[in-house]
Point group: C2
Chain length 434, copies 2
């Protein structure tokens, strides 16, 4: 049974805080194991990558076999169902269209003191994309990671995807091809993150690594952060559905299960003002579970991490939403725009009864790589901005320097940084040379 | 003697790579000590913060004494030199003006399929600002961290600043007041980062922590990353000056020293196409060092980490700049705009001979919190965007869902996620209810 909370009870604040604090990940020994793998990859390069791939993916390769050949990729694409390929291409086009609108503007202006100021955006040089393998080898993840990088103008996109026992979902390779990935390596786990961060004889190092993964991948990304950029520490997935009693319980039940079926540590939360509706949703979940192939995973997630929270009225849901800061938020209410301004923390917001989260997972356009584990309090979904960086621009004429330089000297001296002051005063004292 | 490299020699590529790989920080035991401190703060709250403050800052406090009172802040401001306060206020106004231009636009549109798409920016709820104490208690850092947060609309800005032996630079408190900081605590180090991340009885937890610090602060920020957001892992500071022979060697020498005087592990690099000019700069550095108060620090930095790189011509500097990816880049050449498009990686770019880095450190307007240790390859200086996060918006009408839903079902089924498919198909099958 999922947790049931009633916001009208006096013990609710404590119970809700305990619910927020409950961890869903066991990170105990992971950090140490990952540190060892990264160190081995850094020191031994390909040899370590091949050894761990043999151990964890049961796959014996040599260095030449690490990278998929163009022919392997073409064969994979040819083996895909044409209807699914069409859907992938539609998704790619929609994702590209949405992300193009995120491209930021450069800035270059002269202020009242005659100082030129601005900023310039440039693309990250090389990006590594982590794509989970095994049960979570999702072609949609490839599109969601690679397309923003390509739109940003990244010149080299190197993808890693584990192929346990040599198995690969051909759609993953097809998606990579559609999205314009330059290199694909059949490796995963911490060893793949290490190879991208440090480089090996076969794999050139990248500047930034993005993409979701399991606890080992998350720990590895965290450990190489600083040497390379990372997108975010992805945790288990969440959905929070705010629904009034006018929804079809079967629809909302399916939405909650679409998150629960990802992973036993995924989390689905329903907030409603209608106790009868909540009961009906719970009953519909039981009915759906009887016919879903991944019912075992979904049932465990719903039982262990699911929650139904009853509130007085729908507006009372907003502050709870902000504290959960869910990755996905559905506002399955009559007037979602009335509720929207009250909400601050959510990765993606799905407006109205006809917008299930799954639409955003695949092809609405916005990214499905979103902040998890309450991190929507301070971070955003993956975007074109994650593959760009900004250089600020400052240019002073002699007159501009004369206008504001003296205040700079005062501040430098106040901070006891006399070489700073000297670099300004020398220029103010000397006649301009050009 | 600083390292001297000549790009025209055959051994240059290897020597340059070794130069890039040389670490300037000793992180050996730091991680373990920091983990211990963070765990103690998480478990014991104020008690641990007070204990570490007594140990590291030689300051015995009780919980009530952790926070500066409004009266203490007003007294500090009254004790400041009025000319310096004026300079601080000018800097604050210029920083605010520049950062207001970074505020991003929301997006809300309907696409050809009738799907409503967009994104909405909202401010982070609560931000913690780390301000270094002791020899590096810089009021300018307070402005550079707090003002972008305030411009972004952050409601609560909590600042921490260590006060070793109870000493505080009154300008730091004045700057915090000018910048609109809400709370100031006299704590520092990993214990302050822990207090901000986990909260204590006295200090409410924040959502994001920004601001530079020493190796312990950097390690602590890295370890709490995920529970809270962080800006970046700040390392020792760098400057790279690209200068032709037409510069005054004394000016360029002062610029190189303005970085070197920060810290013995700071790094100053000169790239020039004129060997005689390089010699003149080195000679001017020796002259400046004889009269600078921080000459011991600056001399050690220049000797141990400084570098002079000779190139054939100025355009040949661009690819080297990109590989160094310096925090600060001066283009002290006749036509900096000719060189600018060739350069991709730099935190801030100072254009022309009359724009010393110190101008940007204090009051040009752009932020002086910039990516260090080659991270300008993948990250940007602090900005208003660091205090905002973006929620994507998706809203489908029944007709919009009918247009793209089937492709979503195809992709969900291809990924084996049948509850995803079910959440779409139920809505496509049923007649619309509103």
């Amino acid at each position: 049974m999922p947790l049931e909370l009633d916001a009208r009870r006096p013990d609710f604040p404590d119970a809700f805080r305990a619910f927020l604090d409950a961890g869903r990940d066991e990170a105990a020994e992971v950090d140490r194991a990952v540190a060892e793998i990264l160190e081995a990859v850094r020191k031994e390069g390909d040899a370590a990558v091949l050894r761990y791939t043999a151990r964890f993916d049961r796959l014996e390769l040599n260095a030449e076999g690490l990278r998929f050949t163009p022919q392997e990729i073409a064969e994979a694409e040819a083996a895909c169902d044409p209807e699914t390929l069409d859907a992938l291409r539609l998704a790619a086009a929609r994702i590209e269209d949405y992300h193009r609108r995120q491209l930021p503007q450069d800035l270059d202006y002269q202020d009242a003191s005659g100082i030129r100021l601005g900023h310039r955006w440039t693309a990250v040089g090389a990006v590594g994309l982590y794509v989970p393998g095994g049960t979570a080898a999702y072609p949609s993840s490839v599109l969601m990671n690679a397309i923003p990088a390509r739109v940003a103008g990244v010149e080299r996109i190197a993808m890693v995807v584990p192929t346990p026992d040599g198995r690969i979902n051909p759609l993953v390779l097809a998606a990579a091809h559609i999205a314009g990935v330059n290199e694909i390596y059949r490796i995963g786990g911490a060893q793949a993150v290490g190879a991208l961060a440090y480089g090996t004889e076969t794999i050139a190092p990248v500047d930034k690594i993005t993409g979701p993964g399991n606890a080992y991948v998350a720990a590895a990304k965290k450990q190489v952060f600083g040497r390379v950029g990372i997108d975010m520490i992805a945790g288990p997935s969440e959905i929070l559905v705010v629904a009034d009693g006018d929804n079809d319980p079967a629809w909302i039940a399916a939405d909650l299960l679409s998150q629960a079926e990802h992973d036993t540590s995924a989390q689905s939360i329903l907030i409603t003002d209608d106790a009868d509706f909540a009961t009906a949703v719970q009953r519909a979940i039981e009915v759906h579970l009887q016919r879903l192939p991944r019912s075992e995973i979904a049932a465990a997630s719903w039982r262990d991490h699911g929650a139904v929270i009853l509130v007085d009225d729908i507006p009372a849901a907003a502050p709870l939403v902000d504290r959960v800061a869910p990755e996905h938020l559905e506002l399955a209410v009559g007037d979602p725009d009335a509720l929207l301004p009250q909400i601050r923390n959510a990765g993606a917001i799905f407006l109205g009864r006809h917008t299930p989260e799954a639409l955003g997972d695949y092809l609405a356009g916005p990214n499905h790589v979103l902040p998890t584990a309450r991190s929507a309090r301070f971070s955003s979904g993956l975007s074109v901005l994650d593959f760009l960086k900004r250089s600020s621009l400052i240019g002073a004429s002699p007159a501009g320097l004369a206008a504001i330089g003296p205040a700079g000297i005062a501040l430098a001296r106040a901070e006891g940084l006399d070489a700073h002051a000297l670099s300004l005063s020398l220029r103010l004292e000397a006649p301009a040379t050009d």
